[in-house]
């Protein structure tokens, strides 16, 4: 891995953000709206639900963590789509940069995009709703790691689709996370799902992450085995995502879709 090249590609996306105030605003706007929406919903449930009666902000914390996953995945997809929209695809793929360096650059830059959007929203939640994700303590770092890896995996799968099917796959990029959300048990415990769906849901890291988050906030107990399990599942998915990306890349070279891929 050549870190100068990873830095160069990251810089391309940082310049893109820094050159446009509306782009920064757009990154901050949606997470903030989410915080407001889920903040009020959370407040309502806290006051009116027996399940959530003792815990302020479980729903809002779940919303923040889910948004982190969503932003990570979308950031990865967006950076890839930017290359297609700007018709820069050929220039990127003929540059002397390894495919794994492209993946690394997008993965590392996605965290910056994600944090630009999420940090203001997280800070707003503290005075406005009295909720801080930091209440999760040290396990928060591991939960975020598992979420980030899974978010990037979804990004890798969508970008693989873009390589395979071209820009027409773009709509799937936006829909991909909503497809998995019902199985992720973000706002409700896994027992709510029918048994058959519970089996599928357990194969996703999301269930373990959000179950653990609820357990920490509601019972004040940390089960590091569950956290380890969620990270392990995310790592497996990430490896799978990288393999699919490589397969799509070689497939695109066979089909010749890397030439002149654009809007």
């Amino acid at each position: 891995m050549n870190f100068n090249k990873i830095y160069a590609l990251g810089l391309r996306h940082l310049y893109l953000i820094m050159n446009s105030f509306p782009r920064i605003l757009d990154l901050i706007y949606w997470p903030t709206v989410q915080i407001f929406l889920w903040g009020f919903i959370s407040k309502f449930f806290t006051l009116n639900s027996e399940y959530y009666s003792n815990t302020v902000g479980v729903i809002l914390t779940a919303a923040i963590l889910y948004d982190f996953l969503f932003r990570a995945s979308i950031s990865f997809n967006m950076m890839f789509l930017e290359e297609i929209w700007s018709r820069n695809f050929t220039n990127l793929f003929i540059a002397p940069i390894k495919i794994r360096e492209i993946i690394a650059a997008l993965t590392l830059t996605a965290i910056i995009r994600t944090l630009i959007g999420l940090i203001p929203a997280v800070l707003i939640a503290i005075p406005l709703f009295g909720v801080s994700v930091l209440n999760l303590g040290i396990p928060l770092i591991f939960l975020l790691l598992a979420l980030y890896l899974f978010g990037i995996t979804l990004g890798l799968l969508v970008t693989s689709g873009l390589l395979r099917y071209g820009p027409s796959f773009e709509n799937i990029a936006w829909a991909s996370l909503f497809f998995l959300a019902p199985l992720g048990c973000i706002y409700y415990p896994i027992d709510i799902l029918p048994f058959s769906l519970q089996i599928i849901a357990k194969g996703l890291p999301l269930v373990h992450i959000f179950e653990e988050m609820r357990s920490i906030l509601m019972n004040n107990t940390v089960n590091y085995f569950n956290i380890f399990k969620s990270i392990s599942i995310s790592v497996l998915y990430f490896i799978f995502g990288v393999i699919i990306f490589y397969i799509s890349y070689f497939g695109a070279k066979k089909r010749g879709t890397l030439i002149n891929m654009g809007e």
Binding site: K5, R12, I259, N260
Partner: protein, 243 residues
């Protein structure tokens, strides 16, 4: 021989885009790749750049199969410019050159950026976003990007397409001068015959994925009994016979 293309073939589904072509390019030669639209020029360039996997055949660089090189190692020796491939529109000219300079691992990047931007006269719109430039300005920036690493092998796909005669002439003169001062091998795909006559040592004519003729401009014009390369091109492009 710097580049040797042997039986290079590309089949997309059932469409034969490039059909067993063979040619060689010597060190510091400039070769023109001519042919009507859809004749396989871009696919050939794509295969040389590693963007398209050949269905058959070989590309040899200094007698070594291109596949035996590491991707980044071989691409450091190449570069490419085409008006159909753009640089990120929302980035300034300077930012784009910086990023590509870094991707190509250029040492003394500031010096190289200054050099190339002075040579191509792009300093006066250096801080402008690339998407806000005119076609002529964009082409010059694209050429600057393609020369940032002083490539050994430069592939140009219609570098003066859609440019006014003045800017077109500027680019052609620049390439001519650049060739004199630098050790570079160029493959130029173009529909501008006077450009090809001016810049190329030899030309390769393609039609329907095949090479139908090749030679120096002068030889081809004489061989086909025409007055210039444009007339020769038209004769070959419109002929039903394979040469």
């Amino acid at each position: 021989m710097l580049i040797e293309i042997k039986n290079l073939t590309k089949i997309y589904n059932n469409f034969l885009a490039v059909n067993k072509i063979n040619f060689q390019i010597g060190k510091y030669e400039t070769i023109g790749l001519l042919g009507p639209n859809g004749c396989g020029k871009t696919t050939t360039i794509g295969m040389m750049l590693g963007l398209v996997t050949p269905s058959m055949g070989e590309i040899l660089i200094e007698n070594k199969n291109i596949k035996s090189f590491k991707r980044d190692e071989i691409l450091e020796r190449f570069n490419f410019a085409s008006p159909y491939v753009e640089l990120p529109k929302k980035l300034t000219v300077k930012q784009n050159l910086e990023i590509y300079g870094r991707l190509y691992g250029i040492k003394n990047l500031d010096k190289r950026m200054n050099e190339i931007s002075n040579d191509l006269d792009i300093k006066n719109f250096y801080e402008k976003k690339t998407g806000e430039l005119s076609s002529g300005q964009k082409n010059r920036v694209s050429l600057a990007k393609s020369l940032i690493n002083k490539p050994e092998i430069l592939l140009l796909d219609e570098p003066t397409a859609s440019l006014d005669p003045d800017i077109g002439d500027f680019i052609r003169s620049y390439i001519q001068e650049y060739k004199k001062k630098n050790k570079v091998t160029i493959l130029l795909a173009s529909h501008n015959m006077s450009e090809v006559e001016r810049l190329c040592d030899r030309v390769i004519m393609m039609k329907k994925g095949k090479i139908i003729d090749s030679g120096t401009c002068k030889n081809l014009i004489q061989k086909h009994g025409r007055n210039n390369l444009e007339e020769t091109f038209l004769k070959l492009a419109r002929s039903k016979d394979e040469f």
